[in-house]
Amino acid sequence: MSHVKSRWFGILLLMPAGVFLLVFYLYPVTYNLYLAFQRMDAEAFMNGDGAFNGLENYRALLQNGVFYSALRNTLLFTFFSILFQYSIGFLLAVLLNKSSRAANFLRGLLLTPWFTPIVATSTVWIWLLSGSNGIANYALHALGLIDQGIPWLSQPSTALVMTVIVNIWIGIPFCMVLLHAGLQSIPSELYEAGEIDGASPFQKNRHITLPMLKEVSAIVILLGVVYGIKIFDLVWIMTKGGPGNASQLLGTLSYEYSFAKNNFGIGAAVGNVMLLISLVASFVYLRVSKKLQS
C-alpha cells in the first residue's frame, strides 16, 4: 500500500522539475532545431516570423571560413586548457596533500580564481595584459625580454593564447579540488605497503597514486572537454572573438550571429553544431564513467 503511495508522491514531487525542463530545455532546443531551417534575420524578426529556407543556414555556415577557424580554435582551446589545468591541478593537489592548517588554508585561498565572477576576473586580466600600461608588459620589459609593450589581446597572433591562459587560470582550482578529493580516498595502507617494499616517492606516485586516480582523472578530463566546448563568457568579454576572428570560438560565433548580426537562423545552426559535439562528448563521458565503476 505505502509502496503505491510513495510512487504517486514521488511523481508529484518531480512535477515542478519536469515542467521546468520541458519549458526551459526541451522547448528551446526543439525550437532551435526548427529555427536553423528558417530565414530569421533582423527583418524577419521584426515582422514576427521567419520563412522556411531549408538547409540554407547550414550551407552559408559551411561555406564561410570563419566556421572552420572557430571549430579549430574551439578544439585547440579545449585541448590546451585541459592539458594545463589537469597537470597543474594535479601538481598542486599532490603538493598540498596534507591536512595541516596551512595546507587547508592555502587550498581554500587558491580557489579564489574559480568562484570569482568571470566578468570580474576577465576585466582584471584585460588590465594586466593591457598593451600600454599593463603590469605584464612592465614585468617583461623590466626583465629585458621586450622593448615595447605588446598588445596581447588586440593582436591576432596572441589573442587566442591569452584567453586560453586565463581559462587555464580559472580551471586549475577546480581540477585541484577534485583531484585532492581523489587523493584523500586512496587508503594510506597502500603507501605503507609501498614503503615496506622500498618504493621511492617517484615510484609510489607512478604505481600507487596515478592508477588510483584513474577514475577521477577521467572525470576531470571529460568535464574539461564538455566545459571547453561551451566556453563563451571569458572570450566574449576579453576579445569578442577578435581581432578579426583570431580567437573566435563556436560559442562566440553563435552569439555573434544571433545578437551582433541579428541573424538568428545561422546563430541557431551554430548552436546545433555545438549541441551535437556536446552530445557526443556526453556519450563518451557516460560510457567511460560507467566502465570505470564496474
Binding site: S6, R7, L14, L110, P113, T116, T121, T123, W127, G271
Partner: protein, 268 residues
C-alpha cells in the same frame, strides 16, 4: 627535493593569486599612481570615499543582481528539493532516465539555449523581467542542484523516513517535517552555488536585460570596459565589488562549496 617543491608551490600560488591581488591593489590608486613606473605594489592611501562613490553610482546594478539572485535561489530551492528527494528516496518509475536527462543538462552548451530562449522570451514578455532572467539562470542552477541534493539525500538513513511513518506522519508530513530539516547541509550547498552562479551570471543578464536600468552588475561592468576604457580604478572597483560577496559567501560556507564541487561527479 623538498625545497624545489616549495619553489614550485610558491610560483603556482603567485600565478593564481597575483591577479586577485592586483585587482585589490588597483582599487585604491589614482590614475597617476596606476600608471606610475615602477608601479605601486601597495596603495599609498586608502581613499575609501571615492571607492564608495563608484559603488554608490552603480548601486542600482548591484541591487538588480541581488534581486535576480534572490529569485533564482527561491525558484531553484522550490524545484530542486522535492525533485532531489523524490529521486533519492521515493519509488518513482523511470528514475534512471530522469537521472540521465539531468546529467546531460550538465554538459549542455548553455550558449546554444540563448538564441531560441531570447526569441521565446521576446514573444512572451519575459525580456527585461527579473523573474524571466532568474528562470533562464535556472537552466544552469536547477539541474545541478537536483543532482547535488539527490546525492546528499541518498546518504540519509532510511530509518528517518520509517520513524516518521511509525509516528503517524504521511508522506507529505515526513517530507516537510523530517526530511527537509535533516537536509539543511545539502540545501545550504545548493543555495551557495545558486548564489554564485546567479551573481556571476553574464550570458543571460546580457541577453535578456536589454534595458540598461535592469542590467545586473556583471553586465554593467562589461559595458563599462567600453565606456570607461582606461579608467582602471573604476573597473577594478566594480570587479572587486563583484568578487567580494562571492568571497565572503565562499569563506562562510567553505565546506558546502567543497562538497558541491565534489558532487559535480554525480554518477555515484
Amino acid at each position: 627535493m623538498k625545497k624545489r617543491f616549495s619553489v614550485v608551490l610558491a610560483l603556482l600560488s603567485v600565478f593564481l593569486l597575483f591577479p586577485i591581488y592586483w585587482m585589490l591593489n588597483s582599487v585604491f590608486q589614482t590614475r597617476a599612481e596606476l600608471f606610475s613606473r615602477p608601479p605601486l605594489w601597495f596603495p599609498r592611501s586608502f581613499d575609501f570615499l571615492s571607492v564608495w562613490k563608484i559603488v554608490v553610482d552603480n548601486a542600482q546594478y548591484f541591487s538588480n543582481s541581488l534581486v535576480i539572485a534572490f529569485i533564482t535561489i527561491a525558484v531553484t530551492v522550490f524545484v530542486a528539493i522535492p525533485a532531489g528527494y523524490s529521486l533519492a528516496k521515493l519509488n518513482v518509475p523511470g528514475k534512471s532516465f530522469y537521472l540521465l536527462v539531468l546529467l546531460i543538462t550538465q554538459m549542455f552548451p548553455l550558449v546554444m539555449l540563448i538564441t531560441p530562449m531570447f526569441l521565446i522570451f521576446s514573444k512572451t514578455g519575459l525580456l527585461n523581467n527579473y523573474a524571466g532572467t532568474a528562470l533562464a539562470i535556472g537552466t544552469n542552477t536547477i539541474p545541478f542542484s537536483i543532482l547535488v541534493l539527490r546525492s546528499y539525500l541518498v546518504s540519509l538513513p532510511d530509518s528517518l523516513r520509517e520513524a516518521a511513518f511509525i509516528d503517524g506522519c504521511g508522506e507529505m508530513r515526513a517530507f516537510v517535517r523530517i526530511i527537509i530539516p535533516n537536509a539543511m547541509t545539502g540545501i545550504m550547498t545548493i543555495v551557495v552555488f545558486t548564489f554564485l552562479f546567479s551573481w556571476g551570471d553574464f550570458l543571460f543578464g546580457l541577453t535578456m536585460m536589454t534595458d540598461n536600468d535592469l542590467q545586473p552588475a556583471t553586465v554593467r561592468l562589461y559595458q563599462s570596459i567600453g565606456q570607461y576604457g582606461t579608467d582602471w580604478r573604476r573597473l577594478m572597483t566594480l570587479s572587486a565589488s563583484l568578487a567580494l560577496p562571492a568571497m565572503i559567501f565562499v569563506v562562510l560556507a567553505q565546506r558546502a562549496v567543497v562538497n558541491g564541487i565534489g558532487n559535480v561527479n554525480v554518477n555515484k
